[in-house]
């Protein structure tokens, strides 16, 4: 199911209504999560249930035996490799073009596999309590607001909330206005902004632009499209979780305001960055690695793997590796950048935008040609492009404004106006936005990963 579909609104209304009936809340959540994923197909459903059963069983033994632990992690990774990367690895490292093809990998596999690996590691490290009840474990992995595209939830984040729900039927105090407000914000980002930018981006990345200006326009449009698409999804996930009494972790904090590449990853897809940091980078030595070459190697390795997590294509590997280089460059140039925050911010933004070319391009050849055009001087013809550039400024302004309402003040305001009148406005706006017919099928971009 998709959050930006009208049928989902009806589905959620029923789930929300039923969850209010005393004592059946957990059962409703489990059933809803099951039904939510059925739309992806029976094979995908069978896979996720198998994986949940396997990880649930293994979680009883991982802390006792290193072999069991290693095997469990290996099986999780092998499943991900098989379903996501087998064609990439099998066809002599040929690439999967993910933007122009139907989604063929099991929906959300990258997210739930990472979530379960983190859970097993946390048990072994003793940083989280084991979830002994199967329904609770099922809900931890498959809770529908975060199932398909994150945030990647740790057991510590929500196991207590799930336990309370099962034990006493207690949910976190819900500020309905806040939940609805987050859903509305996500829908505005996805339906009004991201979906509107999609045709411009698709045109730019299907036929190579002929001028530098058009190429920059294309990639800047994508810069906003991907942000509004993914952060829109995350906002809706947070909002739905909030309405159902489960608080999910925040995934975005105005990433394009980051003043260094490292900070960018502390603001962009935060839960993935934290996962990579805690389960990949730190075990490899982290910041304690001595010597720039060793640091560079570790960073590039980690970031390349994170790039490949997004898709089986060399473009993602190049994207991740380039981020590794950028992070190291900023570390080396820290004395310079720390004194010049504006230069540092502009530099980070420039790197981010340029590297998105690798992310969006169908293949490496296209990406390199595209970059070449971006840096080839050409005549400035602003005739047809001026309104798009004006739009970019508006989008940038909206991004800047996000910090004004996405904070504690905003939460307090929503608490203040937590009244039926406000709920009516928010539900009405969500409904009318979902009424807008979709000319193109634009699923959330991160559904492809």
């Amino acid at each position: 199911m998709r959050f930006d579909a009208l049928y989902f609104l009806f589905f959620f209304a029923i789930v929300y209504g039923l969850s209010k009936i005393p004592r059946i809340g957990p059962a409703v959540y489990i059933l809803a999560s099951f039904l939510f994923y059925i739309v992806a197909g029976w094979q995908d459903l069978a896979l996720i249930i198998t994986m949940i059963i396997f990880n649930y069983g293994a979680s009883f033994y991982v802390s006792r035996s290193k072999i069991v632990f290693s095997t469990t992690v290996a099986i999780n990774l092998a499943t991900l490799l098989y379903f996501k990367y087998s064609s990439f690895l099998g066809s002599s490292l040929g690439a999967n073009e993910i933007f122009n093809t139907q989604i063929i990998i099991p929906l959300g596999i990258s997210f739930y596999v990472f979530q379960m690996i983190a859970y097993q590691v946390d048990i072994v490290r003793g940083t989280c309590r084991q979830i002994t009840s199967f329904p609770r474990f099922y809900l931890f992995v498959a809770f529908f607001p975060q199932l398909i595209a994150g945030p990647i939830v740790r057991a510590n984040d929500i196991s207590n909330q799930i336990n309370r729900l099962f034990k006493k039927g207690q949910r976190n105090n819900t500020i309905i206005s806040l939940g609805l407000g987050l859903c509305l914000l996500g829908l505005v980002k996805k339906v009004i902004l991201s979906d509107s930018l999609a045709p411009i981006v698709d045109t730019n990345f299907s036929i190579m632009p002929d001028t530098a200006l058009a190429a920059w326009q294309g990639i800047l449009t994508f810069t906003f499209q991907i942000y509004y698409d993914f952060s829109g999804y995350s906002d809706i996930a947070l909002g739905l979780g909030y309405l159902l009494g489960i608080r999910l972790p925040i995934n975005f904090k105005q990433p394009y305001l980051a003043k260094s590449p490292q900070e960018f990853w502390q603001r962009w897809h935060i839960t993935l960055s934290q996962w990579v940091r805690d389960y990949l980078y730190i075990p490899l030595g982290g910041n304690k690695i001595k010597g720039p070459i060793k640091q560079l190697t570790a960073l590039i390795l980690v970031m390349t793997l994170m790039g490949l997590w997004h898709g089986a294509n060399w473009t993602f590997a190049a994207w991740g590796a380039s981020w590794g280089v950028a992070i190291l460059l900023w570390r080396i140039g820290a004395p310079f950048f720390n004194k010049r925050p504006l230069v540092s911010w502009l530099g980070t933004l420039l790197v981010t935008v340029i590297l998105w070319v690798f992310f969006r391009a169908p293949n490496m050849g296209f990406a390199l040609d595209y970059l070449q055009i971006m840096f080839t001087p050409s005549t400035l013809n602003m005739n047809n492009l001026s309104w798009i550039w004006s739009g970019m400024i508006v989008l940038g302004g909206l991004h800047l404004l996000e910090g004004r309402y996405y904070n504690l003040k905003g939460i307090k305001l929503m608490k203040k106006i937590n009244q039926p009148f406000c709920w009516g406005i928010l539900i009405g706006l969500c409904f009318t936005i979902l009424l807008l017919p979709k000319a193109l099928d634009n699923p959330f971009i991160y559904f492809r990963f």
Partner: protein, 391 residues
């Protein structure tokens, strides 16, 4: 307790109403700024019910068309696409030319003044004093709807010349449009009377649209963006998102290749053969149709030109030649002029542009793009100037 619940419900409903007004305001703001080119807007709902042709354009409707390419469009007081002027006044001394056909002529993908009909008018006006070219195009039209519209508009607009642009396949396959159910289909009896099926006229949808409720809804659509969005959504279906993948698969599978399309082969066979019953019946119906045009010509003095735009490029030459001969013969028998539009268009193509380049905006398929409209207008205006500037 009960009062509190009632109060909460009332407040909630007030909130919903406020949301509706807010949404309306947002959509209107978008339309007032250049953002309409990108952000979601309410797609204009142009059509309304018609007793004779089942549906037609509504009068004086303005709005934004979003499918395929975004354009600001409008209809005039005659319920046809405006050429960018809304205060058309009949002038007995002026020459009036009507161009009729399907969505290619209707051209909702470009603004009023960018349609080839409007551009043809502009070119002709620079050469001939006092001339109007009217866009009588209607999406999904069939030959019998074209006839009905031709009769109506010839008298309404005092047409001097009527150019019917059609494909031979449309003529052979849609002259008798006999799909069942509650879809509109049209039959023509042997004396040329056209009827819409009763089932359609009795359908709930048609009845509602022609009732007071329908009038009220059309009124609301003319004045509210929210109602236009609601109407579009109802037309597409509330569970539209579940259907999108299916639609895309169908669209993909129907992409043509460089071979002669099946529809064209069938059409060619029908036109070039007269032995089998199906061909004979279609020939008789086409003759009836052309006879009706001939009668219209005689009664009103309008000059009727049948312009053909075929898709026979990759079809067997023997078949296309005999089909051409048959078509020309049928037109000649009914004293209607034949115009090979496609050949004429080819001779007017700018360098390095093919006929395929005239279609589609972002994708290579679709309706006429801006170049297409320019080529069509220069071809048609040239044809009219060469053949009728003295009349």
């Amino acid at each position: 307790m009960l009062f509190r619940a009632f109060k909460k419900t009332c407040l909630f409903c007030c909130g919903l109403i406020c949301a509706a007004f807010l949404f309306e305001a947002v959509l209107r703001c978008i339309e007032l700024t250049p953002a309409w080119k990108t952000l979601p807007v309410a797609e204009v709902s142009l059509y309304g019910p018609d007793a004779k042709t089942a549906y037609t354009h509504r009068k004086n409707v303005k709005g934004i068309w979003t499918t395929e390419n975004r354009a600001k469009i409008s209809t005039n007081e005659f319920a046809i696409r405006s050429n960018g002027r809304h205060n058309f006044i009949k002038n007995p001394d002026a020459k009036n030319i009507g161009i009729i056909g399907n969505s290619i002529i209707e051209a909702l993908q470009v603004a009023d003044i960018d349609t080839f009909v409007s551009q043809t008018e502009e070119i002709l006006r620079s050469r001939i004093n006092s001339i109007n070219v009217h866009n009588l195009g209607l999406s999904g039209t069939t030959p019998v709807i074209e006839l009905e519209r031709s009769k109506y508009f010839t008298e309404l607009l005092d047409l001097d010349t009527l150019i019917i642009i059609n494909s031979p396949a449309n003529l052979t396959h849609r002259i008798e449009y006999s799909q069942g159910g509650s879809l509109p289909f049209y039959t023509m009896d042997e004396i040329g009377n056209i009827r819409i099926n009763r089932k359609y006229l009795k359908s709930r949808g048609y009845k509602i649209r022609t009732s007071i409720i329908g009038d009220a809804f059309y009124f609301l659509m003319n004045h509210s963006k929210l109602f236009t969005v609601l109407n579009n959504r109802m037309n597409r279906g509330l569970l539209d998102e579940l259907q999108i993948n299916k639609v895309q698969q169908t669209a993909h599978s129907s992409e043509n290749t460089n071979t002669c399309p099946n529809e064209a082969i069938e059409s060619l066979k029908i036109l070039s053969q007269t032995q089998d019953n199906n061909s004979q019946r279609t020939h008789a119906l086409i003759n009836h149709l052309l006879g009706q045009y001939s009668a219209l010509q005689n009664r009103t003095g309008v000059k009727i030109i049948y312009a053909f735009y075929d898709n026979w490029k990759s079809c067997p030459k023997t078949l296309t030649q005999s089909a051409h001969t048959a078509l020309i013969a049928m037109l000649e028998n009914n004293n209607i002029e034949y115009y090979d539009l496609k050949s004429d268009l080819k001779s007017h193509l700018p360098p390095n542009i093919t006929l395929q380049d005239l279609r589609g905006f972002a994708s290579p398929k679709g309706h006429l793009n801006y170049t297409g409209h320019q080529v069509f207008s220069s071809t048609l205006s040239n044809y009219i100037i060469n053949n009728y500037s003295n009349e």
